[in-house]
Amino acid sequence: MAEPVDITAKGGTPDLQAEPMLINIGPSHPATHATLRFQAKLDGETILDLVPEFGYLHRGFEKESEASTWTQVVPYTDRLNYVSPLMNNVGYAMAVEKLCGIEITERCKYVRVIISELSRIIDHMVCIGTNMVDLGALTNFWYFWKPREEVYFLIEELCGQRLTTSYTRIGGAMADLPEGWTDRVLAVCRGVIPECIADVNALLTKNRIFIERTMGVGPISAKDAVALGFTGPCLRAAGVPLDLRKDETYLVYDRFDFDVPVGEAGDTCDRYMVRMEEMRQSLRIIEQAIAKLPGGPINIDDPRFILPGKEQVYGNIEALMNHFKFIMEGVKVPAGEVYSATEAANGELGFYIVSRGGGGPYKIKVRPPCFPLFQGIPHLVKGQMIADLIATLGSVNIIAGELDR
């Protein structure tokens, strides 16, 4: 038999002297967007306690990586945050390059910035779009799906895949940009995306229903957000201007002029506002990066890391042997350990890599930005309504692929 309500229960105070109800949400539920599960203890519609559970999508990324070569891990990183896979590719490649002491070419740095910012835009579009679907505003979802589709066409042209991009390599990229690609990026960034952001902005930002569903819903203070390890838009919405692109600048982000938006209350509305502004700032970065994009090779000129060209492999025996050893044994990465972090769409994406000098990693640990965010969900919604949980969960943007690995 259930216990009578304890008035001192954590979180909200029950307004009815009734028994608390335990309700299970997920793991397969349209509003969780992924295989997430909650056990909620409710008094009426008020959340007294919430226990998040996950692991339904655990694929053993880290175990699998330990048996792969360095380059074979790149496709696995696509499956971490599958909404912005290019960013994971970049984060992983940067970690291995740090270990190898590789300085990638200028062109490659700019290309990585452009693909990262494109990914950030589509990631935020998915987050806002699906969040709004949960609140009953389906139109915004479709308004954002069109530009997202346009960006996917660009990504498809870039690497032949829409979702599983595997674009980066140790020391460069799979291939250079296709002919005229930057012009088409500019056309999308000027002609399609700003219009859609403006449409969604016009539909939502001053909409009274939207404001009442999001303002003050799922708030967190700056202090709590730091203590819980929040990063990315969720931390910035709480008023902490931490952005690794500015604070630990990498690639060539220090050469661009862009702003880091911050919120105040750390609630669902602020998270939405921060993401909307970040998309506009990403457009600014892409414009500047394409304007300054240097020529030259995309890969470093180092036969220890870069595969020999096709004509050489078919033309001389040394290149053929080299190619064989590359594929079978992997590139040789010096022994040591590094932690490399990048600002992914959801926050700090960190890779802790231990190498013992072999052709593959001895250990890879991903620090997924969602992990602490999902841990903080009970803190965000305790004492609020069950419908607020859905609004908050969508705005925090949990991606099970990187959460469960």
């Binding site: 692991g55 175990k63 390890g229 040591g336 802790y352 250990k363 602490p372 469960d404």
Partner: protein, 158 residues
Amino acid sequence: MSIVLDRLRGRFPADVVSTHSDFGDDTALVRRERIVEILAFLRDDPELLFDFAMDLTGVDYLGEEPRFEVVYHLYSLEKKRRVRIKVRLHEDDPVIDTAVPVWPGIDWYEREAWDMYGIVFRGHPNLKRILLYEAFEGHPLRKDYPKAKRQPTIGPEE
């Protein structure tokens, strides 16, 4: 040597085993006995202020003694610095004090290290498996756990 490692050595001369700054990452290997004190010092010292516990993981160095390593990655919002703290644990006693009182956000990382490596965090409020289910046998990221091993997948215990 970096200011972080200097201060840490100055404050805990007997507990810091070794330090290095390879690849630009400040790293200190410390003894496990006063780990909570060391972490609290790193968080509270006005010169350091490591207010973010960014990551925690285990590493299995099978064949070495001590076998396991617990790795903390900390970040300071104000000083914009990072540090890595490592602790070695013996195979027959893989126990370390929990850091949850220092950073509440480290809770799930410790659960994951328990799940994947079987490292016990003494005093942890809820040391349960996190990615796998309670009936799972063994700790899969240990080097002696075969990659191809399969176990029946069953639901969580109620």
